[in-house]
Symmetry: C2
Subunit: 398 residues, 2 copies
């Protein structure tokens, strides 16, 4: 079977590499060899082994009847959307690693694929090499999924781990992460939680079977976390992690991306460095967790190649996948319940006047008071915290 | 679609329960409702809601053309094998939670299923509710799997966790586990590693695509582990866990079940109590881990129902699965390399005379010496340890 790869960047070149290095094992599992016939890129890559496969016009792939499997690894919504749509309409199976495309257009592309008897797969779009999409869609199908909580951004997890182990400040760790290539020059999408937000939108869509708009998900990043917060976290025996969470509330879900204080006995507590993990709670399964390399060239490309093999085995069959275009109204995030850890310049007396029963945390930081509230709604906290002077920080308990 | 359940014990009744409680979500994902029509058991279950569905002769299911999906939850090789074979030959899809059956007859039943255009699935046979079989078969297909290391027996993991946290002796913890229903009255299959051995045989078969005979896998249990060993482990900052391991060696695999000393930074280190987890290393993926409830009625039944949904979606198609009946010759286990932790009544001088460079471990135990060898083959260790008087204990480093 002939494969086309759109985008010869990190992931695209990783896919070509795996199809070469693991050629035999891939052929055995797919039932026949998978061979890259065309690579779409704006660049020419003269001297590279793929040089002779490079095409610059996506219609060269659309019109090539020999090509039945297509990899989209360009990133971004456009022109990826236009290209992918054209491939599906031409009866070609498509796999993508592009979370922006899947979060935005997933439901529509799944419908188009179904209408044309082909498959649209996206295992690599969440959790890199970690199998999570297909386990949710084809293993945990006997369960009502009541919670998904993911550490789904390697950059921020590396940074939070470093701040915890070294006691260093955010800015220093960011520079280090950039020097190591873990963070981009403009780190906004990672550190402000936008990347994690798209991923939890995709996972929530899959478990509810409807379209979840990532714009509806309240999203905070880690750029406001300081070495002092880490001190308090250590004192409480907790770790601060950027979590992307989704919980079932009645007939809908409540989703949020934010830094949380995780207790030691939570399976995600020990997920460190650039690793990702997705914790799942099913009403029958109980707790489960999927852990691994959430990013990087080869782990992510490994998930793409897994999709290629699955599509090769189902080349004549659309695998039904419940993800309707109808939008899911998420639960009101201000009604979510939390315990809140708060730092303030106000006095302990003032804190108790406003919040009544609290637990004070003494991390040896002078000039301020740290405390943990009782469980209350986000709205109740927002109202009360306005009554308190000089709130320095608020981090939710997980 | 009509379902038959063979064996109305813990797992079988769990499957019936999930198909009732999660009826709507299962119907949505399977594409149509799944309804239990017959339940095979020797008992009558008068008064139970399934009473009217009970049949005593498996031929009542074989001859029922309305039934297309069958659950085998009887356990043991016979009569499960005879019944499952008859179901497949009658063109019915079968899912089983029965590791003994899968380890013994998996390759043959897969061939029979293929010959009859149906599927034989067994997600619940390893790791209970944890998705591991299907992720290996349908996600990590772009990888050469170089290592699988599992904590795949909840009973022994509970016991090792208890011994570690409470400092108690093996016999006391076993009694406790039996009282809690975590260990059986005759705990041999769990504590001697036989259960874990069958599971790693299944996982190894899946990654190599050939039949692995569990009789070829050297298997030690945990019944010789003492509170004193735990003291040494704590001193070394390691945890003793019963691991079922399989590693790629050239064109074959080397497998072993034994207690190992795991370092703190290993993803399996924090897998405690009755939880299971399977660590996987792929040549492209890198490290991955699947964690969750490895046993118990509903988690295990959840995996069976996941299989039912998958079979309902592929009712007209055998999903190709590479597991040939041809036997794989495992690598010689005496050529595996380890560091060995050893306790002996011999003197430090004698230890150094025999093993040369070692690291002594002082856990405050009088009358003996504890030490860690350099890395050497199992054979080299066996030879040397014969030269040493009074070896009290040996546990391998992981």
């Amino acid at each position: 079977m002939k494969v086309a790869v759109m985008g010869y960047g990190t992931i695209g070149s990783g896919v070509v590499e795996i199809l070469n290095v693991n050629k035999d094992v891939v052929a055995k599992r797919a039932g026949e060899p998978l061979e890259v016939k065309k690579v779409l890129d704006l660049r020419d890559f003269s001297g590279d082994p793929v040089e002779k496969l490079i095409v610059h016009d996506y219609m060269d792939i659309v019109n090539d009847d020999e090509i039945s499997l297509v990899v989209e690894a360009m990133g971004g919504v456009e022109p990826a959307y236009t290209f992918v749509k054209a491939m599906l309409e031409a009866g070609k199976h498509v796999t993508t690693s592009n979370k922006a495309l899947v979060a935005d257009k997933g439901a529509e592309l799944i419908r188009i694929a179904r209408e044309h008897g082909v498959n649209f797969m996206f295992e690599a779009s969440v959790g890199g090499g970690i199998p999570i999409i297909r386990p949710l869609l084809s293993c945990l199908t006997g369960d009502v999924i009541e919670e998904i909580t993911g550490i789904v951004n390697g950059t921020t997890n590396y940074m939070m781990t470093k701040m915890t182990t070294d006691g260093s400040e955010y800015e220093d760790v960011l520079k280090e992460a950039q020097a190591l290539g873990y963070a981009e020059k403009d780190p906004t999408a990672d550190v402000e939680g936008y990347d994690a937000c798209r991923k939890i939108a995709i996972l929530t869509s899959l478990v509810c079977g409807q379209q979840v708009d990532y714009n509806d998900i309240p999203t905070e990043g880690i750029s406001h976390i300081t070495a002092t917060d880490i001190k308090y976290a250590n004192k409480m025996g907790r770790a601060i992690k950027l979590l992307a969470r989704s919980e079932k509330v009645g007939e809908t879900y409540s989703a949020r991306v934010a830094p949380y204080l995780l207790p030691k006995d939570h399976p995600l507590y020990n997920v460190n460095d650039v690793f990702n993990a997705i914790f799942v709670h099913g009403n029958m399964l109980g707790d489960g967790m999927f852990y691994g390399s959430g990013a990087g060239k080869l782990p992510t490309a490994s998930a793409v190649v897994g999709d290629l093999v699955a599509m090769a085995k189902h080349v004549d069959k659309n695998i039904f996948l419940e993800w309707k275009e109808e939008k899911l109204e998420l639960a009101n995030p201000s009604q979510q319940n939390f315990k809140f850890f708060v730092r303030t310049k106000a006095s302990a007396q003032e804190v108790e006047k406003v919040f009544h029963k609290v637990e004070f945390v003494d991390a040896g930081v002078s000039g301020e008071v740290g405390f943990v509230t009782c469980e209350m709604t986000q709205k109740a906290y927002d109202d009360k915290s306005k009554e308190l002077s000089d709130v320095v920080q608020m981090i939710r308990f997980a």
